[in-house]
């Protein structure tokens, strides 16, 4: 009876989900097997040509670039985010809430505007260069824009709140008496961290990594604005293929590739958190 009621209540969600996720997804998959005519219009003729192109070494480079960017973004946000989350969880409640509010504050401003903020900061006539020039520390501007690392700075900045929040939740749930038991049994604070805190917060780390990795793979405006198109990422490629190349079937094939990559990462995450009884998808 109860399950029936629950199933009935799930109907609106299923309709919503089907309309907004299911149908577009099927559409993309179908599209990826279609051909196009010389004008760029989609023709309903089955082909594997798009997927052959995906495996072209030039395009595989794009996959590699994106994968590397997402991976590095994940690691850097983890290295910065873990200590931040850990220290935050140790604060007294008032300061802790303030800190969390500050992490969330950037979300109130358009991410596009925030990315332009980095241009103002890092550009050749940007704030950092101007200050360094005025202080006569350098005599010509340091080129900081339009590099792989510039894009990386942008994605790290954009996605780090997700990492902090995910790890914070995990650290916050940690039973303090476990730490006390560890000290009591003779472990120093450092040993306690590596033997107790870190292993018990792996679900948080994995969750944060997934939350950061997935969008990092597809973000394209950051690499457009900060990377200047010097390195091509999946997001840029798909964007270009749809808006300028008029090759939607190929764009769809890349999208399917990206979806598979994301699915892989999420399934690894699912594995890590399966036995721990916590995680984002339970």
């Amino acid at each position: 009876m109860k399950t029936l009621k629950r199933n009935v209540l799930a109907i609106p969600f299923l309709i919503w989900f089907g309309l907004l996720v299911g149908i577009p997804l099927v559409y993309v998959v179908v599209l990826s097997f279609m051909s196009r005519d010389h004008l760029g219009n989609v023709v309903f003729r089955f082909t594997l040509e798009n997927y052959q192109k995906v495996f072209d070494p030039i395009y595989l480079r794009v996959f590699a670039n994106s994968f590397l960017l997402a991976l590095l973004t994940g690691f850097i946000t983890l290295l910065i985010g873990y200590p931040v989350a850990y220290i935050t969880s140790q604060l007294e409640p008032k300061k802790r809430n303030l800190a969390i509010a500050l992490f969330m504050l950037p979300f109130w401003i358009s991410s596009l505007l925030r990315t332009y903020g980095w241009v103002i900061l890092l550009g050749n006539t940007g704030l950092i260069n101007n200050v360094l020039l005025a202080l006569k520390i350098i005599d010509k501007p340091i080129p900081m824009m339009y590099k792989f690392s510039t894009t990386l700075i942008g994605t790290v900045y954009m996605l780090i709140p997700f990492m902090i929040v995910a790890i914070y939740n995990s650290v916050d749930k940690l039973d303090r008496s476990l730490l006390e038991a560890s000290y009591d049994l003779g472990a120093s604070k450092v040993k306690t961290f590596f033997k107790i805190v870190l292993p018990l917060t792996i679900p948080g780390i994995a969750g944060g990594f997934t939350l950061v990795f997935t969008p990092a793979l597809g973000l394209y405006f950051i690499s457009d604005l900060l990377g200047g198109g010097q390195t091509i990422f999946l997001g840029n490629l798909i964007n270009t293929l749809v808006n300028r190349g008029r090759n939607r079937p190929l764009a769809a094939a890349f999208s399917v590739g990206m979806i598979l990559l994301v699915t892989l990462v999420i399934s690894i995450y699912g594995r890590i958190t399966k036995d721990k009884g916590e995680g984002l998808f339970q």
Binding site: E180, A181, Y183, D184, L185, G186, A187, S188, K191, L200
Partner: protein, 369 residues
């Protein structure tokens, strides 16, 4: 005189303005089972955490074998704790949990460790459980592993913070016996925290009764039970009728008091010399050491029966004397009385004590648990 293993000297502990421990001093001797007993919030757990090093003391000193340990971090003290919720590491199996202490201190080789883990598992009767994860164990089993994990370090003192609190009554009784056997077998000094007087009376060599951060009484279970030194201990330990009486006449062996219209002679107890004639005193009588008679008896209290309850093997009789309510618990009754009957209450020798009245504190203020 025996040298103390652990000496607490004038320990004071504050949380902001709140003083959790007030000038606590006592000694613990090698091999004894000492219990800190008191209602919740009395400071007993705080005291235990101070000994473990998990809380800093504001003043005073703690000496272990004559050496001050008050500035040592918990991992540098040869003292281990069994936590109230056991605090087993959920990501480690039983073996790795027990091996944790020796491993972080690098005090044993892996071969020695194997033998030692077996030894402590045998002590707590948990052989063959090495590979289990903590969440695959029952409450009682976790309890044993927590004890094994502490004992493998061969601590000078084992601290136990209400370790039986989470177990059901039957298991609790069983674990009481097991714990005291374990303590005797290993010869380890136990400091045990509980709010349960039965546990304390059953297992301890000595009991320290604490209330409001102050030691109320320190003594053997028998002393604490039979001769409570003040009103708090009298109310907290045992089940007594506590009656305010007028003191008529003091003497060396006995004191004459007046309860309602009854004049009674009470044999003097430890604190009776502080009583003054003409003042007020507290007469405390164990409910199960009173008897109900249908006919007048010498040195008895005339009372009216309010109600009679049969509770299995025992009978509870509620009576009224003037404006005071009393309860008598009997196992065999000499007087089958009913509501409204006139009866005469006596107590068996040693069943009553007489204390001076400390008018300033009352039961509500203490917030008895």
């Amino acid at each position: 005189m025996k040298k103390p293993l652990l000496s607490l000297m004038n320990i004071n502990k504050y949380y902001g303005d709140f003083q959790a421990l007030k000038d606590i001093s006592f000694d613990i001797y090698q091999g004894e089972f000492l219990t800190l007993l008191g209602p919740s919030g009395c400071g007993k757990t705080t005291l235990l955490r101070c000994i473990a090093g998990l809380e800093e003391i504001n003043s005073g000193d703690i000496l272990l074998n004559g050496q001050s340990i008050k500035d040592l971090a918990p991992n540098k003290r040869n003292i281990n704790t069994v936590f109230q919720n056991y605090a087993l590491f959920p990501h480690l199996n039983v073996y790795d949990n027990i091996a944790y202490g020796p491993r972080v201190k690098k005090s044993m080789t892996e071969e020695q460790l194997k033998i030692e883990v077996q030894r402590v598992l045998e002590l707590v009767q948990m052989i063959d459980y090495e590979k289990r994860m903590p969440d695959q164990l029952s409450g009682g089993q976790r309890q044993r592993i927590a004890i094994a994990r502490a004992l493998i370090n061969q601590p000078a003192i084992l601290l136990l913070d209400e370790p039986l609190g989470a177990l059901d009554l039957k298991l609790r009784k069983h674990m009481q016996t097991e714990l005291s056997q374990l303590q005797k077998k290993t010869g380890t000094t136990f400091v045990y925290v509980t709010h349960d007087q039965d546990e304390a009376l059953n297992m301890s060599d000595r009991i320290i009764v604490i209330d409001q951060g102050v030691i109320q009484q320190l003594g053997s279970p028998r002393e604490i039970y039979n001769n409570p030194k003040n009103l708090f201990v009298t109310e907290f330990i045992g089940d007594r009728n506590i009656l305010e009486v007028e003191v008529l006449e003091t003497g060396t062996d006995a004191t004459k008091v007046k309860l309602g219209q009854n004049e009674l002679t009470v044999t003097n107890s430890v604190e009776s010399d502080k009583i003054q004639a003409g003042g007020l005193g507290i007469l405390a009588v164990h409910k199960d050491k009173m008897q109900v008679s249908c006919d007048p008896q010498p040195n008895s209290i005339k009372a009216e029966v309010v109600s009679v309850h049969y509770a299995g093997s025992q009978i509870r009789i509620d009576v009224q004397v003037a404006d005071l309510s009393l309860t008598v618990v009997e196992y065999r009754t000499a007087c089958p009385c009913k509501e409204g009957d006139q009866v005469y209450l006596t107590w068996i020798d040693g069943g009553a004590i007489l204390l001076p009245l400390e008018g300033q504190v009352n039961q509500e203020e203490r917030g008895l648990a």
